[in-house]
Symmetry: C2
Subunit: 322 residues, 2 copies
C-alpha cells in the first residue's frame, strides 16, 4: 500500500493526514491503520501527564533536546482539550515545541479530544501506531492527567511520568488520582517553590503504603527546577531522561514488559470492539429512525432505557449458548 | 416491588444501598432501576461544575440552605475522583455539606469514579433517577469539569452552572473547554480576587462570539464572594438560586426543555446499549478464554485489533440488511 510505504519512510504529510483522519474517525483510515500495525512495536512509548500548569510542555521540550543529542528520533503526541476559550495559550506551548520543526527527526502533533465517548483513547492508540511505524524511537504522549479517558490513554505507554508542582490545591492533586497509582516516575517540577519537601514526603508515604513497589520497581521521585536556570534545568532533564531509559530497561530485563504490552493490547481490542460492534449498531438505529422512536418512548415514559437496550440486543446480537 | 416503594417513600438506607450497587455495577440493581424510571421526571436537575478549587462545594452548601428556606427538598450527587492520595481533603468538603445530615429533606451522596470506560456517566445517570424517585425537588450534580466523561455527565441535567475563579492559569480554564460551550450560567467565585474584571470581559467576549445565545438565552455571568462575608455570600447565593430557577422556567416557557430531555435520553440509551450489548460480549469473550487468545495474537503481531474485532462482530452481531 502506497500510503503505508510513505509512512514507513517517515513522510510527514502522509502521516499528518492519516492522524487527522483518525481524529475525525474517517472510515478510510482503517485499512491503513490495519496495515501499519505489523510495522510497529519498536518505539519506547512514554506518557507525560500531570496537573494543569505543571510545566509538562517545557519538560517535553527538554526531553526532545536530550534525545536528539543522543541522535534518537522523537515523536510527540500532545493531547489537547479542545478549547474555544484559551486555545491560544495551549497553542503557544505547541509552538514553543515547534522550535524542533526544522528537525526532520522530530515529529510533533496535537490531538484534539473528540466528543464521542471513548473517542479520545481510540484516536491516541491509533496515532501512536502511526508514529511508531514512522520509525520514531521515542514517542511521548502528553496529556493533562484528569478524567478517566485521560488515565486510559496511559495504558498505551511503557513508562508513565507524572509531573507535579508543589503548593497546588489538594483537589488539583486529587484530579490525577487514577494516574497516581500507575505512575512509574514522579517529577516535582518548579522545585524551587515552597512545599517541595512536603510534597516529597507525601509521595514517599504514599509509595510506601501502596502496592506500587510491585515487581521490584520503586517509583523514584525526581525534582526539576526550570526557573531561569538553564543549567539546573538540564541537570534535572538529564536525570529524568536517564531514569526513563532505566525504567524501560528494567521492564525488559525483568520480563515485566509483557504485562504492559498485554494491558495495551486489551485497551486496543476494547477500542476496536467499540468501533466494530457498537458504532455500526448506533449508525443503523439512527439511519432507520429507530433511535428517534426510542427516544420519543423514553420522553413519554412509555418504557425505560434498559428495556429498550435489551430489545436492541436481542435483535442485533446473536444468542450463543455454546 | 418493595424496594421501589421504600425509595419512593424517601427511605435513605434503601436508596443508599441501591446507589452503591449502581456504583459497583451489580446486576441485581437493574430491575429496580427499570421500575423506578416511571416515577421520575419531576426534579429540576442542576449541574454544578468547574475548576478544581473553585469553591463548588461551598456554593452547593449555600444553595442547599437557600432551597431549604423555601421548603424545597434537595438531593446532591458529588462525583469524586477516587483518590488514595488526598481523599481526606475531598471527604472534608462532603462532611461540611453533612451539616444538613439531620435534615431528612436533604440527601447527599458521593459517587466515586469507576475505572471502566463509560462507567462514570452511566452511574451518575442511574443515581439521578434514584434521587428523582425519592421525590427530591432540586437535584444538584457536582463534578470537576475536566475530562470528556465529566462533560458527558452534564447531559443529564437541565441547567449547567460553571464555577470559575479569577487568576487561575489558562490551562486550568482550558480544562473545562467542553463545558464552556454547554454552560447556562457562569459564576465567578472568589470575586474579591484580582483578575475578576478580566475574566468577566473574556467570558463576555466568548459569549458574544459563540453560538451560545441560541434560543434567546444569553448565559448570565454572576459573581460570588465568600471571603469571610456571610452577607455578601448569601446575596450572591440568592442571585444564583433565582437565576437557576429563572433558567428552568425559561426552558419550559420557550419549549426548550424538550431539547434537554432529548439529549439526556440519548445519553441514557447510549449507556444502556453499552451495558446490554458490549458488556455481555466482553464477559463471554473473557470467560471463554477467547480474549486471552486474541491478546496473544496481538502480542505476536499475527494480526491487528481491527481484524480481530471484525471477527468478533461477524460472530456475535446479526447481519441485518433489511
Amino acid at each position: 500500500m502506497e500510503r503505508v510505504k510513505k509512512i514507513r519512510a517517515g513522510d510527514v504529510r502522509t502521516a499528518s493526514r492519516l492522524i487527522r483522519n483518525i481524529e475525525d474517525n474517517i472510515p478510510e483510515a482503517r485499512p491503513v491503520i490495519k496495515s501499519i500495525f505489523h510495522h510497529t512495536g519498536n518505539a519506547h512509548i512514554v506518557g507525560i501527564t500531570g496537573s494543569p500548569g505543571a510545566g509538562k510542555s517545557t519538560l517535553v521540550d527538554g526531553l526532545i533536546e536530550w534525545y536528539r543529542r543522543k541522535n534518537k528520533t522523537v515523536g510527540v503526541l500532545a493531547v489537547d482539550p479542545t478549547s474555544p476559550f484559551t486555545g491560544g495559550a495551549i497553542l503557544g506551548d505547541r509552538i514553543r515545541m515547534q522550535r524542533h520543526a526544522e528537525d526532520s527527526a522530530v515529529f510533533v502533533r496535537s490531538l484534539a479530544t473528540r466528543s464521542a465517548l471513548g473517542g479520545l483513547s481510540k484516536a491516541v492508540g491509533d496515532a501512536i501506531h502511526v508514529l511508531d511505524a514512522m520509525g520514531k524511537e521515542l514517542i511521548m504522549v502528553e496529556t493533562v492527567g484528569a478524567g478517566q479517558q485521560e488515565v486510559q490513554v496511559m495504558y498505551y505507554t511503557h513508562t508513565v511520568v507524572l509531573v507535579l508542582v508543589p503548593g497546588m490545591g489538594d483537589e488539583i492533586q486529587a484530579l490525577k488520582a487514577g494516574i497516581m497509582e500507575i505512575a512509574d516516575i514522579y517529577v516535582i517540577n518548579k522545585a524551587d517553590r515552597a512545599g517541595t519537601n512536603k510534597l516529597q514526603r507525601e509521595l514517599m508515604a504514599m509509595i510506601d503504603m501502596s502496592p506500587m513497589i510491585r515487581n521490584q520497581w520503586r517509583p523514584p521521585i525526581l525534582t526539576v527546577d526550570n526557573a531561569f536556570e538553564p543549567v539546573a534545568f538540564y541537570k534535572g532533564i538529564d536525570e529524568l531522561s536517564t531514569t526513563i531509559i532505566k525504567h524501560y530497561q528494567h521492564l525488559i530485563e525483568n520480563n515485566m514488559i509483557s504485562d504492559r504490552l498485554r494491558r495495551r493490547s486489551l485497551t486496543e481490542l476494547n477500542d476496536a470492539l467499540q468501533s466494530c460492534i457498537l458504532d455500526p449498531i448506533f449508525d443503523k438505529l439512527t439511519i432507520d429512525g429507530e433511535m428517534d422512536q426510542m427516544i420519543e418512548k423514553l420522553l413519554k415514559k412509555e418504557t425505560d432505557p434498559f428495556t429498550l437496550a435489551e430489545g436492541v440486543a436481542s435483535k442485533y446480537v446473536k444468542v450463543t449458548s455454546d
